[in-house]
């Protein structure tokens, strides 16, 4: 699947330029004033006059997701797409929990029979997907998926399946989660939060410290050739945790759908794929365990996810 657009909203701003700038500048501690110690999205990143008419009533969660999706669909070089042929999949672990707790505030303050219908309708997990579809005029399948492990990666595989079976020409796939006061209090009790706000990857002793954050990121994926220079997703492999049975699954091996999805091809499990102009690899290099009906040997690839999000092809 070629990447035609990227949208990102995170603690250091909004958009690919902000992401590149943050990478160049290096680590900075979380901004003061965030709920407890967390990487919060700055308010200016959520202000957008162009998208604002569609987001007038949106809560923070829906706004995070919609702005990232907006940027991915409207990236330079993104193809012209028929609205009915564009799908959207939003992955989230906790959904719009700040609005959920606001609804609980209503119940506790005013009683069960005097709550706000607007707050309720924004507290459902798929409110953000509804805002995305309405703001961007998308009429294809729209799905919200939620779980605590690999929701985004399963969303990527589903997007490939939708494209492969001809359900969509393109799919907006993204993930969004927000930070709030209640979650910060829970995190402070359940996690070892780094006091200085710095996550130290792979520092396992005595136990890994973490810092909660929030944000949203979306990709516009399509098998069509892309001039955007974002590369492509060659493979998505979801492994098993150390206490789980391995979870092997090929991106696709059904004969009919394989024929229908020439853009999705097996690549070596490196994180970065070259740009779309590179020839697809030979399917004959598929490892034996990837054949239909075969299971991957236990423990053969650990539990990391190679999501193949590419570096920019022009660089």
């Amino acid at each position: 699947m070629n990447i035609h657009g990227i949208g990102v909203v995170f603690a250091r701003g909004r958009g690919v330029p902000a992401l590149e700038r943050a990478l160049a500048e290096g680590w900075q501690p979380p901004a003061a004033g965030a709920p407890r110690l967390s990487y919060a999205v700055p308010p200016e990143a959520l202000a957008d006059r162009a998208a604002a008419p569609g987001l007038r009533r949106a809560d923070r969660f829906s706004r995070l997701a919609t702005l990232a999706a907006w940027d991915a669909l409207r990236a330079d070089g993104a193809p012209e797409l028929a609205p009915a042929r564009v799908g959207a999949i939003v992955a989230t672990a906790f959904g719009p929990h700040v609005t959920t707790f606001k609804f609980l505030d209503d119940i506790l303050s005013f009683g069960d029979a005097a709550v706000s219908p607007t707050t309720f309708s924004h507290s459902v997990h798929n409110a953000a997907a509804a805002y995305i579809a309405a703001a961007l005029g998308l009429r294809g399948p729209t799905l919200t998926v939620t779980q605590f492990a690999f929701a985004f990666h399963e969303a990527l595989r589903l997007a490939a399946a939708w494209i492969g079976e001809g359900r969509c020409d393109a799919v907006l796939v993204g993930a969004a989660d927000e930070m709030g006061g209640v979650l910060a209090r829970i995190a402070a009790r359940k996690l070892r939060v780094a006091a200085d706000g710095k996550i130290r990857p792979f520092a396992f002793a005595p136990s890994p410290a973490t810092v909660p954050g929030e944000g949203a990121a979306f990709l516009l994926l399509s098998p069509a050739p892309s001039g955007a220079g974002f590369g492509r997703i060659a493979d998505v492999t979801v492994g098993a945790g150390p206490r789980e049975r391995p979870r092997p699954a090929t991106l696709r091996s059904g004969a009919e759908c394989r024929r229908a999805a020439p853009s999705v091809a097996r690549r070596p499990p490196s994180c970065c794929a070259p740009s779309a102009s590179s020839p697809p690899p030979s399917p004959t290099k598929r490892p034996a365990w990837r054949s239909a009906g075969r299971r991957r040997p236990r423990g053969s690839s650990g539990w990391f996810v190679q999501n193949g999000i590419a570096s920019r092809g022009r660089e």
């Binding site: 069960d112 219908p117 997990h125 509804a130 919200t144 998926v145 359940k190 789980e244 699954a249 299971r295």
Partner: protein, 395 residues
């Protein structure tokens, strides 16, 4: 779309209409409506609900009621599909829809936090361990893809559609798919605030309908590839043939008045099944009994299938079970197609002149190879499933 149908090798359900499929069909045949006041929690809202009367015991409340219901339906479906004694040759996926289980919405826990206390984190742990797809996959040692779908009232239907896509993409050999939701204080309050709840037992598509009743339950299918089912020696006549989904891109809670999103979803499902509208023997409609839903849905069904299409809504037996509705109605549709009859559309008495179709008012024989189940949801989601009952087993 040119992908193959999936075989339905197992079905399980639990709702106010019955603790399993056999009990449910008996309730449908009677017909028996198990609506009553809310007993699961205190509420000042006096609207009938459809509670599951005797769910299995939940020692020390270590799992959510939604998960309890899901596990009951999964056990029935997995046993029927003989997944234990004759396991499929490839990975098993799990895809379940829900609305309640994906929210951390424990009122007592939040009230304590709000008061400045440091309450026990047991409700948080129950929530973190209660994701339906993750929990059921762990129960079964399922080693394929897993997803919990949170698409509001179409969650169960969409979850089954995801399963069909997984099978066609070769991601797994079998999938446990459907939906589950408990009757919960949060949606009860929310739907009441929206003004769409009926003070009396619901009357889908009726001229005098006054809104929906909430319910709870779980409905689950075991789906697998035709080759896999045949290799395991399972019956192969009952099939899931198509899935369509389309978004209204219109409003957070109201359906698009022209129904174009629902119509698009139905036509995609029919196209994937490779059939024309005339091949549909009956439609199990979403039919919530709200003024807007039934008017839009009835108009679309009349437009696509004609005014004489055989239609029912089973929500008169179960209430609106939210994330479970699509799963339950998939089970009911497939079971009715196989059995050759559908129950009366409970609650319907008087035709609405603003709606071109009318549901059946009595138990009705159905003849034909295909049936459709539809779902509409918050967020403008529309989804449709086509089920088939083939004349012959696969060889």
């Amino acid at each position: 779309m040119n992908c193959a149908a999936a075989i339905i090798s197992g079905m399980g359900c639990v709702s106010a209409a019955g603790r399993n499929l056999a009990e449910t069909l008996a309730s449908f045949a009677a017909p028996h409506r198990n609506a009553g006041p809310t007993t699961l929690f205190e509420t000042p809202i006096r609207c009938p609900v459809f509670e599951v009367p005797t769910p299995p015991a939940n020692p020390a409340h270590r799992q959510s009621r939604t998960l309890l219901l899901a596990r009951q339906a999964v056990r029935e479906a997995v046993a029927q599909a003989r997944l234990d004694s004759r396991p499929p040759s490839g990975p098993i996926g799990v895809c379940l829809g829900t609305t309640v289980a994906c929210q951390l919405n424990d009122v007592d826990f939040y009230a304590a936090l709000r008061a400045g206390a440091e309450p026990s984190l047991a409700p948080v742990d129950r929530f973190l361990k209660g994701n339906p797809a993750e929990a059921v996959a762990a129960d079964l040692g399922a080693d394929g893809p897993r997803l919990t779908v949170a698409n509001a009232c179409s969650s169960g239907t969409d979850a089954i559609g995801v399963a069909l896509s997984w099978l066609n993409a070769g991601l797994c050999a079998a999938v446990i798919a459907g939906g589950a939701d408990e009757l919960n204080r949060i949606p009860l309050d929310g739907f009441h605030a929206l003004g769409v709840m009926s003070p009396a037992p619901c009357r889908p598509f009726d001229r005098d309908r006054r809104g929906l009743n909430l319910g709870e339950g779980a409905g689950v299918l075991v789906l697998e590839t035709p080759a896999g089912a045949a290799a395991r020696g399972m019956p192969t006549r009952l099939r899931l043939c198509g899935y369509g989904a389309a978004c209204d891109a219109y409003h957070l809670t109201a359906p698009r008045p022209d129904g174009s999103g629902l119509e698009a979803a139905i036509r995609v499902a029919l196209a994937q099944a490779g059939i024309a509208p005339a091949a549909i023997a009956f439609v199990n409609a979403h039919g919530t009994a709200t003024r807007d839903n039934d008017k839009v849905e009835g108009a679309v069904l009349g437009r696509v299938f004609g005014a004489e299409i055989v239609v029912l809504s089973t929500k008169g037996f179960t209430g609106h079970t939210l994330g479970a509705a699509g799963g339950l109605e998939a089970v009911f549709t497939a079971a009715a197609l196989r059995a050759g009859w559908i129950p009366a559309s409970a609650g319907f008495e008087n035709r609405d002149d603003e709606i071109p179709i009318a549901p059946v008012a009595a138990r009705t024989p159905v003849h034909g190879a295909y049936a459709l189940s539809t779902s509409l949801a918050f967020g403008g989601n529309n989804a449709a499933l086509v089920f088939g009952w083939e004349e012959q087993e696969l060889l």
